[in-house]
Amino acid sequence: MIGLGKQGLDDNEEALRRVVSKQQELDDQSAAPAAMWKVSTSPHLKSSESVEKIMWTVVACLVPPLVLSVFVFGIQTLLITAVSVISCVLVEWLSQKALGRPVTIKDGSAVLTGMLLAFVIPPGVSPLLPILAAVFAIYIGKHLLGGIGYNFFNPALLGRAFLLASFPVAMTSAWLPPVKNLAIFSYFGGAVDAVSTATPLAVMKEKGMAAFTEAFGSGSDLYGSFFFGWRPGCIGETSGFLLVLGGLYLLYRGYITWHIPVSLLGSIGVLTWIFGGEGYMTGDPLLALLSGGAILGAFYMATDYVTSPSNKTAKIVFGMSIGALTVLIRLKGGYPEGICYAILLMNPLSTVLDGWFKPQRFAPPLGGAK
């Protein structure tokens, strides 16, 4: 009775034979044809959603920002993303083979990890970096912990953290300014050092607000270029517009809920406004949300099912904590961005939060709690 999951009996001759012999046992006195019908416990009806459908839908939502990155930073973003995706899938396949587990590369989760990993590394890095990150993130961070569902760190961010620790120079300096006149091949194969720039938050942190305004402008120009993605940054983080659009679609499909993105972005906005300026209540919340991967993190990273809580209240606490940690790291820590570490710090706590904030039961038993 336990092997219910093996319902794909058609592929499994031995199981079929077992069913047939059981059928004949039961039909001993019958004249019914020895047909083969499936027997399992209820429910017999299942929704049309599946893990594959979810993963591939999220991947599809990440395609527009990827296409944009080609026009912003040049064609090599496509190369880095392709290398990252292929190496993640390959490492997943190899890990599952090596560990004797069923191969599940078709479910799209490795593809998604590959996409997200490429999205959080600078566009000017060597394509070798995502390969190393894939090995660390997928093999050590995911499969050695039990595979999908059992990893307690977001694999893509784990890959980024690994690269940040191992290749700090490349990871913090291989930024590219947006290309001019759609010359998307201009950086391809060339020396990146010659054109490198800095990310908005790094400029602000190291050189102050004046240098920032000089480099990126101010007012609606600034917000416009940040909103549509025409600015330096990681491959996939630049366009708040396209990321939010994809996030809204995921919300509409019911694949993510509003709890984590809203609480996370809300707490970043509010805390930046209070503590982020020269004095209290003078910070720029909009800029804080449009830079440093906040939107990418809120909609695509922190909402990762495996590494976020399942209960609604726990999700809100989780999102607010990430937001608070992000602002803390940005303002007081050593890194200009911060959401990567904030999410990684909260990831292992998600099951703890689920334990603290249990769903409300239908009704307690008579005479108080058990």
Partner: protein, 441 residues
Amino acid sequence: MKSLLTFPKGGVHPPEFKTQTHGLGIEVMPVPDELELILGQHIGAPCQPTVTKREEIGEGALIGEVKKGLGVPLHSPVAGKIKDIGSSVHPVRVSAPSITLTVNHEAEAVHYAKEAWQHLDAAELLAMVHDGGIIGIGGAGFPTHVKLKPPANAPVDTLILNGAECEPYITADHRAMLEYSAEIIEGAKIILKILGINECHVGIENNKPDAILAMTKAAEQSSTPDASITIRTLQVKYPQGSEKQLIQAVTGRKVPAMALPSAVGVVVQNVCTAKAIYDAVVLRKPLYEKVITVAGKGIGRPANLLVKVGTKLKDIVEYLGGLQPGLSKIVLGGPMMGFAVSSLEVPVTKTTSAVLFLTKDEIDTKAHSQCIRCGWCLDACPMGLEPKEIALHVEAGRSELTEPFGVFDCFECGSCAYVCPAKRPLVQFIRLAKMKAKRPQ
């Protein structure tokens, strides 16, 4: 639009698949040559046969009785001869003691005349419900006379008739409410008299507007001051037909965990049970017939059938044009909570509400994968439980530790497994957990 009643927590919206049969009137199926009556038709003790082999019996004759324990008698659906007292294929218990009956097609059908019941008192009516062999025919099969005698310390003030029929495919209650509306309302009045109360609500889901209309009309026509019967329109949502969810939808009261509906002053009966009570009291006809829905792409002609209890599936299949190619699963009951059977020798019992012949594209055949902790099962669970945690514990061999996640509150509606994107057999995991975990108290 006025917002319709429903239960607030959890629930799912599976496709309804009711169009196949909801327009088809109840059709009387000709009696086959042989019937097989399972002696344990319900929760509680099975009947002891009161007849012997080769005995000739008439329609409606007593053939089984419960000597001790919880139970109701069993009656012969037809005139005929006892062929054998042996065992039959059972959908859940694999095999069960049963009486095989050879039908005498020559015998004249018994004609039941209406008799007055208004002069009878509650105890007499209750005895008739017991003697009529009536059990909750909505599915669980709890003996009705027990349910109609709530404990003295829990006074009941409301009767709810369950016409939600939230399971996909099934339209038997829908047709019964259309075609037997007056009988159901009369049955409700009998129940009200037995309980000594005067408030009755009939909960019907919004996808049966014609049934709502017919029942409203019938209720208006026979409304009296001592029996106020109101039809309550419910939102379509599974599992609305579950007792606790229906009570909350209609009255707003929450039945505590491990307690019976009488704890909040409510008794729930299925609409077809009310019809059976009408038959038993007004016509003095015991329960031996059942309206069932036969549907799915695997049967030649879907139908709503009035069949004798004990009719084997093979006779129904033969009557309805045979099995169709592609048939993959046969389910007794609805697709969410029904039981898959492996043989057409299985007979219809008093609790069978449907027989579904499902083809490969109508059922789920995907293998399950690891839990991705998406939490959809938490949102779907109407009881506020954590199916994913229970399943993970069972997989890890720690079934004993699942009580804190609420295994014993689970009534196995299957909403969690329905929404699970990893296609995990969560209900099965929970059943395993229930066997191992220690029940509180």
